[in-house]
């Protein structure tokens, strides 16, 4: 995925697996703590569940930009890092609203690696030097997909995904004495391959709660499957003008299936609640048929709330603002020395109307992952995600 800055914004944990995983790309999804896989969205494009595009009423283009601030601590020190990235874009339009058919495509990040550690080493025998370990890159996803309505008002959505990216891990030594040549080792993986996300959303089952204020009740399920990614692997050493290829070849990267189960409830037509569960068995992640160390299975629970005011003529600006909030708990994909890293997060956000179908979206998230104990790192993330969602009636065919 395109990165606007190379400053560090994730910790050294991202050295393992394929780095930190992105569950969504938009400010709206982040504000809901990445819940909402059972929500049908009429005015924005979520990627948790492709079936959610079925309710689109307008052609939509969405962009998102994120700024991440990281407070990284261990038992003795604390540092602050910040970085901004382009989080992707999507384009979607309804084909037949009566039949729940919509098409969408987009370019979004799947994972990101971005860390840098520097250590000054005092060594009388070799001379003093600076060691730098950094990783940069990630896996991106291009998708095209569609939805259709099934019998009994079930909604099915599916995408064809193409995954690509570069994961670069550098180990460098630079001597303070300029007469000594520097050293650099670069390990690069460049995976490519196809995958798919298939999702289903149930019909509105609010009738089950007859007489209550529940106006919408749906369940959603989606699965993200990635084929074994063909991965060009190179391992080179560099020093000034000398580049030595220590290894190059092609191998396979196996990324486990991600499952996402959600429930969505709407109260009084304006209050939306979404609860989601994610599972991804990262212990099955393999590179060259070898399971990696320091990985654990992901179990993530997200609860999101959205206040979506009913559209009424003569509403003022403040009355049109959509408000969101969420909390999540995650047993992350990282495990070190037997300690699984857990993440807690709270989020919030809002959508400011620019015009009736266009919004400027803001998402905020504060998350804590890891621990200062047991030689681990604690990460305190503060993220701001800004997005713009444009809607228009291009391509929309109206039934006569």
């Amino acid at each position: 995925m395109t990165t606007l800055s190379v400053a560090q914004n994730t910790s050294n944990y991202t050295r393992y697996g394929i780095g930190d995983i992105y569950y969504g790309y938009s400010a709206r999804t982040m504000a809901l703590s990445f819940s909402g896989s059972a929500m049908l969205n009429s005015d924005y494009v979520a990627i948790l569940n492709p079936a959610s595009w079925s309710a689109l009423t307008r052609t939509r283009i969405e962009f998102s930009f994120s700024y991440d601030q990281l407070k990284l601590s261990n038992s003795t020190d604390t540092r602050y890092y910040g970085d901004g990235i382009f989080r992707g874009f999507t384009f979607a339009f309804p084909v037949s609203m009566d039949n729940g058919i919509a098409v969408a495509f987009g370019l979004v990040p799947y994972s990101r690696v971005n860390y840098e550690s520097v250590e000054n080493v005092q060594d009388e025998s070799t001379g003093n030097y600076i060691q730098t370990y950094d990783g940069v890159g990630g896996l991106s996803r291009i998708f095209i997909g569609g939805t259709t309505q099934l019998p009994y008002d079930f909604i099915l959505g599916a995408t064809l995904d193409y995954y690509f990216g570069n994961l670069n891990y550098y180990s460098k030594v630079e001597f303070l004495n300029s007469s000594q040549f520097p050293s650099e080792y670069q390990l690069q993986f460049a995976p490519t391959g196809f995958g798919s996300t298939i999702g289903i959303i149930t019909p509105n089952m609010s009738d089950l709660f007859d007489g209550s204020s529940i106006s919408n009740f749906r369940l959603g399920l989606s699965a993200n499957w990635i084929s074994d990614l063909e991965t060009d692997t190179t391992f080179v050493s560099r020093s000034s003008t000398i580049i030595d290829s220590l290894y190059f070849g092609r191998t396979d990267m196996v990324i486990p299936i991600r499952l996402n189960l959600g429930v969505h409830i709407t109260l009084n037509n304006v209050y939306n609640f979404a609860l989601d569960y994610f599972y991804q068995k990262w212990t099955d992640f393999k590179l060259s048929s070898i399971n990696q160390l320091n990985l654990s299975d992901v179990n993530k629970f997200s609860l999101g709330f959205e206040y979506r005011p009913a559209r009424v003529l003569s509403m003022n600006f403040l009355e049109q603002i959509m408000w969101r909030g969420g909390v999540s708990y995650e047993m992350s994909q990282y495990e070190f020395s037997g300690y699984e890293l857990h993440q807690f997060s709270v989020s919030g956000g809002f959508s400011l109307p620019i015009s009736p179908e266009n919004t400027f979206d803001v998402g905020l998230e504060y998350a804590v992952r890891g621990s200062k104990e047991n030689d681990l790192l604690q990460e305190n993330f503060f993220r701001i995600d800004l997005g713009i969602s444009f809607g228009d009636i291009w391509f929309t065919r109206y039934e006569k």
Binding site: S11, N12, R79, G82, Y133, S171, F181, P182, S239, D244
Partner: protein, 397 residues
């Protein structure tokens, strides 16, 4: 409606503030990256085991571009040296003199050569005399070597007289007819030949003297003065101009105690040194490599002035003296020559071939200084050629 614009501006202001909160990368959590760790190590041939071998051999190189012309003999129990020289003078004559030569109406009354001392090898109080001979065959200072000397044709008669030597100058008079023939040659090459003179040290000589040679910068090269007379008209002194000079140094390989190697200028002696760097780990990066050679001051012989450095070349074929690239200079300090040969070692490792190094004197065309070094078989291991390599290797490679 202005509210939302203010709100958006406020957000960007917050973002700008956050963007300024960025510390320098630190070592926090570096232990998590253990699988990527790289290790910096030092390999010292004095401590670690490495196979090495040294040898020395004699080469013949043209000395025409040397700054000194060497003449003399030097003899000790370990080495015999004999150096002779060739010189050629020409004239730039005015038309009047050329006309007088053509009309055979010019007499050469006297002529003498002055040589400026620059260097002495051996006992400075010893004597050094030489005889001067008319050369009868052509030679080229750029290519002439000691190997060409047996085929040089010259008149066995000594063409010099009134030999004089001091600490700073040597001079001798030349046969007037010989000089006149050179002047004739200047006017018309068909009248006479000019192949210069051959200066051969006498048997009694026991030092080698270096005289300032023809170079692009020195004005102290050999000078020829000629007194001419046109009877009844004038007597004048003119100068001959040195056109070419070259030394031919004959010398045996020194008879050195076991374990020693030698490097000598002009003779010329070179050494070869090879370290088997195959003992280094695979996939390493060479950060620095230092070569240290220990001098054997007892057997080394230096002249009155000398270049106290050695030069090391990268050998690019086996069993040869074919070198590649620029040499590395080893400077002298505390009885050791040392220098940075990082480039050589990096090349050996990256190309996976190693033909060793060629060691020669800092200026192998200047003087006859003998640098004796402790070789790979020297009895004291600590004084054998030493290589110290700082390298990096990735953990788990």
């Amino acid at each position: 409606m202005k509210f939302h614009y203010v709100f958006i501006l406020l957000l960007f202001a917050v973002l700008t503030f956050l963007l300024s909160c960025n510390d320098e990368p630190s070592s926090i959590g570096i232990e998590i990256l253990e699988s990527d760790f790289i290790i910096v190590k030092t390999f010292d041939s004095q401590v670690d085991t490495i196979e090495q071998n040294t040898s020395f051999f004699k080469r013949v190189v043209p000395l025409g571009s040397s700054a000194w012309v060497l003449i003399g003999k030097y003899q000790t129990s370990s080495q015999e040296l004999a150096s002779s020289a060739l010189m050629k003078f020409i004239f730039s004559l005015p038309d009047s003199i050329e006309e007088a030569i053509t009309n055979d109406s010019l007499n050469v009354l006297d002529s003498w050569v002055i040589l400026t001392n620059s260097y002495v090898y051996g006992d400075t109080l010893a004597t050094m005399n030489f005889t001067t001979h008319q050369v009868n065959s052509n030679w080229n200072s750029n290519t002439f070597t000691i190997d060409d000397l047996p085929s040089l044709q010259y008149n066995p008669d000594d063409a010099s007289s009134e030999f004089s030597a001091s600490d700073t100058l040597y001079s001798f008079h030349l046969d007037e007819n010989l000089v006149y023939s050179w002047m004739q040659n200047t006017v018309d090459t068909s009248l006479a030949k000019n192949y210069g003179i051959y200066l051969e040290p006498t048997e009694a000589s026991n030092k080698i003297v270096g005289f300032q040679a023809l170079t692009s910068t020195s004005s102290e090269a050999a000078k020829l003065f000629v007194v001419i007379e046109k009877p009844g008209e004038y007597v004048d002194t003119i100068n001959g101009l040195i056109l070419a000079d070259v030394s031919a140094v004959a010398g045996s390989e020194p008879n050195l105690p076991s374990g020693l190697i030698a490097v000598q200028s002009s003779v010329t002696l070179n050494s070869k040194l090879n370290f088997d760097v195959g003992v280094l780990p695979v996939g390493l990066v060479i950060n620095k490599a230092q070569l240290i050679l220990t001098s054997d001051s007892i057997n080394s012989v230096y002249g009155s002035s000398y270049n106290s450095t050695l030069r090391v070349y990268y050998l690019n074929t086996n069993d040869s003296i074919k070198t590649e690239g620029n040499p590395i200079t080893l400077s002298y300090k505390d009885n050791q020559f040392s220098g940075d040969i990082t480039g050589f070692v990096r090349s050996w490792v990256s190309k996976n071939e190693n033909f060793g190094m060629l060691i020669e004197a800092g200026n192998q065309l200047l003087g006859t200084d003998l640098f004796v070094l402790r070789g790979s078989n020297y009895s004291e291991i600590a004084e054998r050629p030493r290589i110290i390599i700082t390298f990096t290797v990735k953990k788990n490679l």
